[in-house]
């Protein structure tokens, strides 16, 4: 069981208000990702749930129990830190067993659980090593092992993949997703990488300056962003925004079109421009285009699209894929 409810949670450090008041419902078994640019308060929100920070006001309810004042050790949550925070003086075995030892579990049961976790995480051969002797990916696994052995009601992940190289990151992403399927335990995951959010989450919480901008499934956010910030943050490459006449013609302050939602032609279309850089990846072609009004646009064509630097090109947004925003950036 691992439902988490935040009710009007506020946090300020001195005079600086970091979280102005958040209401959030996390259901049991859900994979929830907090995403946002650095400094948006996503890590602070996670630490408030963990109990590593005091809330200034509001309530943190875990499994129906008010845990606002409870110390971290009593919240039955496990956390994986960005730096992994392994105990350098303990072997992998002792690291994983540490929470069990703190819970006063019998030694043989500790060993059984450590073996089980090590099996799941491919760590069996490394149990007697020290963290300093492991690679980044292995350390990451130990940190996860330490979290899963105690069978917490929820896992908290604080940017766990940001210290890994790109290839390893993709692997670990898949492994964590699989782990979630296997354990079916609530996971709260903080990242600044929208790709991680889109690929892993059941529910994404987009944060900006401590405020929740939008909550929804990855495709809900992709299809119907509530505002310009969410529209620009979700999706890669970022959504293109066009202001001025073209937008006014559609009754909006600004319009947004994703790179993948342009039809491209070398003969004619709605917007005319010149190709700056063409990135031919084979599977996709990304074109960096300057529209005749001077507006920079990134467009994606599936497969090969034979244009190069300086070529003229015409873009036409697909029907129903044009987002309109008002002066305040809210979706119309």
């Amino acid at each position: 069981m691992g439902s988490i409810t935040l009710q009007q949670v506020r946090k300020s450090f001195g005079d600086v208000e970091v979280i102005p008041g958040v209401d959030l419902e996390i259901n049991d078994g859900e994979f929830v990702v907090f995403v946002g640019p650095s400094g948006c308060g996503k890590s602070t929100l996670l630490r408030l749930i963990a109990g590593l920070e005091d809330v200034t006001s509001g309530r943190v309810v875990i499994d129906g129990q008010d845990m606002t004042q409870a110390p971290p050790s009593r919240r039955k949550l496990a956390m994986v830190f960005q730096s992994y925070a392994l105990y350098p003086h303990m072997s992998v075995r002792k690291n994983i067993a540490f929470p069990l030892k703190m819970a006063g579990m019998a030694a043989d049961e500790q060993e059984r659980r450590v073996q089980h976790a090590a099996g799941i995480l491919n760590l069996t051969d490394y149990l007697d090593r020290r963290p300093g002797q492991l690679s980044g990916g292995q350390r990451q696994r130990v940190a996860i092992g330490r979290a899963i052995v105690r069978e917490p009601s929820a896992f908290l992940f604080d940017e766990p993949l940001s210290n890994l190289d790109a290839a390893l990151r993709v692997n670990m992403r898949v492994e964590i997703s699989e782990l979630h399927k296997k354990l079916a335990t609530t996971m709260v995951y903080v990242t600044h990488d929208q790709v991680e959010a889109m690929t892993m989450a059941d529910k994404i919480v987009v944060l900006r300056a401590g405020r929740v901008e939008q909550v929804g499934s990855p495709l809900e956010l992709y299809r119907s962003p509530a505002n310009r910030f969410v529209a620009g943050f979700i999706g890669s490459p970022n959504m293109n925004f066009i202001e001025g006449e073209a937008a006014a013609a559609m009754g909006a302050h600004a319009i947004g079109v994703r790179p993948e939602h342009f039809a491209m032609s070398t003969t004619g279309g709605q917007f005319a421009g010149t190709v700056g850089v063409a990135e031919h990846l084979g599977s996709d072609t990304f074109l960096h285009i300057e529209l005749d009004g001077g507006i920079p646009i990134v467009a994606r064509a599936a497969g090969e699209f034979p244009v190069g630097h300086g070529d003229r090109i015409w873009l036409t947004p697909q029907d129903g894929r044009v987002y309109r925003f008002d002066q305040q950036g809210l979706a119309l």
């Binding site: 450090f13 630490r47 109990g51 590593l52 920070e53 005091d54 110390p71």
Partner: protein, 289 residues
């Protein structure tokens, strides 16, 4: 970042050391300040009275004070020049490829661990003694007149002894700093055609400047308070020839029992040290950023 409960605990844990140091700093200093305005001699107890700035006037107009001032500056300056200059040369030497580097380091650092009274006695008797000292023997061996170092050059002798004790400190710190110099930077300089001297003035010296400043400031703090070496070798003499400020305060208070006058001297010493301290604190403060 922490919870409220932890913050209270944190304050409680800092409190004992803060209170102790506060007491240690304020109580004696306040008493010294108080005594410095009193006529107070241990030989005539019960005669204490407030005499305003008189102690300061006497102390500052006493030629012994100015001699002590001069000696203090010469002592600090002399030792600094020897240890920093020698320290840079030694550090450069020890940084070169050689056999038995570890042992060489151990030998060079050794004098720093010798207690001041021992090194003062050893130098005074076994080296500088005009009859039985090694220096006297060397002088005789080359047909020169042995020098009575402590009688003829008392201050210089003290400077040499103290410099011998502090040279390892400077060497060790400068060597540590030297070893943190990026070797790619040196290689880049070589590619740019820099010779050994150019590398020293344009790369090594600027890199060492921070360590040199630290050495100067920390040594100054300790050197202002040199005491044991003077007490053991010359007792500040002949006359006041090797008396520094610290020793003057000591002799005024505990040998002449003039608490008031000595206190005025102590306050002067505090003011001097504070001027140095301000610079040192700025330096160290930067490392906290």
């Amino acid at each position: 970042m922490a919870t409220r409960h932890q913050k209270t605990l944190a304050r409680l844990m800092v409190a004992p050391s803060v209170l102790l140091l506060l007491g240690w700093m304020i109580v004696p200093l306040a008493m010294t300040l108080w005594f410095s305005f009193q006529s107070y001699n241990l030989l005539s107890p019960g005669m204490e009275q407030f005499i305003g700035w008189t102690n300061y006037k006497y102390f500052l107009s006493d030629p012994a004070f100015w001699t002590a001032m001069r000696n203090t500056l010469l002592l600090v300056g002399g030792v600094l020049v020897i240890t920093v200059g020698g320290g840079i040369l030694l550090a450069l030497l020890l940084d070169q490829p050689m056999f038995g580097q570890g042992i060489v380091r151990i030998l060079v650092i050794a004098p720093f661990f010798i207690m001041p009274t021992v090194s003062a006695l050893v130098w005074k008797n076994m080296f500088m003694n005009p009859v039985n000292g090694l220096f006297a023997w060397i002088a005789k061996a080359i047909g020169a007149q042995p020098i009575d170092f402590l009688a003829q050059y008392p201050l210089l002798s003290v400077v040499l002894i103290v410099a011998w004790q502090w040279l390892p400190f400077a060497t060790l710190i400068l060597l540590t700093a030297l070893q943190s110099l990026d070797s790619e930077q040196m290689e880049a300089a070589e590619m740019d055609g820099a010779g050994a001297f150019a590398k020293f003035t344009h790369l090594i010296l600027p890199h060492l400047s921070r360590a040199i400043t630290v050495v100067i400031l920390i040594e100054t703090i300790f050197l202002l308070s040199v005491f044991a070496e003077i007490l053991v070798t010359t007792n500040g003499g002949p006359g006041y020839a090797s008396t520094n400020l610290t020793y003057l305060v000591y002799s005024q208070a505990l040998l002449q029992y003039d608490v008031g006058g000595a206190s005025a001297g102590g306050i002067v010493a505090v003011i001097l040290a504070n001027i140095v301290a301000v610079f040192l604190m700025r330096m160290i403060g930067k490392t906290l950023e």
